[in-house]
């Protein structure tokens, strides 16, 4: 029995509090990853993930099992992200692109192989929106494409296409960069 199914069983048994205790660690990376892929900002993603889990605590007893638990949680996360993005736009009154660029500058690359990683991180950040989201979610935990599709609420074939194009673009961009620096 999967961890998600065990949580669903607890909810159906009316043990929502216990289900919630298990849900947070089980979905932390998924919710955070999805929030980050949509908001492009680590701090905002963490705030959003917190809001999503608090919301889940409130509505978990209402989960009726019609959709998969993960699909339900992803939809809640996406809706919360859309609201956060709207609020951010109103607050900053900048164009979308300017907002995203600003956010990206305030979002440092994860620690790793310094210069090379920073270059790759910049290339990922420069990908078209959907390609970047797919790359982030796919590589965060080596997720299957069908789960990435469920997270973003798009068809599996669209995820495959975005992934293929993103890889080609990254390979070309990094190849060109290496030729210049050689």
């Amino acid at each position: 029995m999967s961890a998600d199914q065990a949580i669903v069983d607890l909810i159906e048994a009316g043990r929502a509090e216990e289900a919630f205790d298990r849900l947070v660690p089980a979905f932390r990376r998924r919710v955070y990853g999805l929030a980050y892929s949509l908001l492009r900002d680590r701090g905002a993603a963490e705030d959003l993930a917190q809001e999503v889990f608090v919301k889940l605590w409130q509505v978990l007893p209402q989960y009726d099992g019609r959709a998969q638990l993960s699909t339900w949680i992803y939809a809640i996360t996406r809706n919360a992200a859309v609201s956060a993005l709207r609020k951010r736009r109103r607050t900053l009154s900048m164009s979308d692109q300017a907002v995203l660029e600003e956010v990206e500058r305030s979002s440092p690359a994860p620690a790793g192989d310094e210069a090379g990683d920073a270059a790759l991180w910049r290339q990922v950040a420069a990908l078209p929106e959907k390609q970047r989201q797919v790359v982030t979610l796919y590589y965060q935990d080596e997720r299957p494409v069908d789960e990435v599709a469920a997270m973003l609420g798009i068809p599996v074939n669209t995820v495959k296409t975005h992934l293929h194009r993103a890889r080609a673009r990254l390979a070309a961009a990094l190849g060109a960069r290496d030729e210049v620096t050689a």
Binding site: G14, F20, V24, P25, R28, R29, Y32, G33, Y36, A45, E46, A49, Q50, F53, V54, W57, Q58, P61, A109, P110, A111, G112, D113, G116, D117, L120, W121, V124, V135, T136, Y139, Q140, D141, E142, R167, L170, A171, L174, G175, D178, E179, A182
Partner: protein, 131 residues
């Protein structure tokens, strides 16, 4: 030096592996939930328990009602079968006269089968399983 496809895959995995909330995230969520629970949790728990009790009572009442209806229908079915059994010769004779060429035994069999099917349908409709 340019990236081989496998190298790019590996680097992308490494780059994104660290994408996670700050340490202590779960504790922070639980602390917020605990604060909310303290503010609104007690009445909420009471309401939920009350709702559960009501739902359980309704479930029991429905189950009892379903059994009573099922037992009534089964009784009617059995009584009808007993009547048919008791007056089978007369019924068969009457039915044979009415239906002409049909064999009396076949007619009785068809009648009993029809009766059993009707009782079975009524029992299923009320959610009662005999077997």
């Amino acid at each position: 030096m340019s990236d081989e496809p496998d190298g790019l895959e590996r680097r992308l995995r490494q780059l994104h592996a660290g994408l996670d909330a700050r340490p202590g995230f779960e504790q922070r969520v639980m602390a917020r939930v605990a604060a909310l629970r303290a503010a609104q949790g007690a009445p909420r728990a009471d309401l939920r328990a009350q709702f559960e009790r009501r739902r359980e009572r309704a479930r029991r009442a429905l189950r009892r009602e379903a059994w009573l209806q099922g037992a009534t229908l089964a009784g009617i079915g059995i009584a009808a079968a007993a009547v048919a059994w008791e007056f089978a010769p007369a019924l068969v004779a009457h039915a044979a006269a009415a239906s002409g060429g049909l064999q009396p035994a076949s007619l009785a069999g068809v009648t009993l089968l029809g009766l059993a099917a009707a009782v079975g349908w009524l029992l299923r409709r009320n959610g009662i399983r005999i077997i």
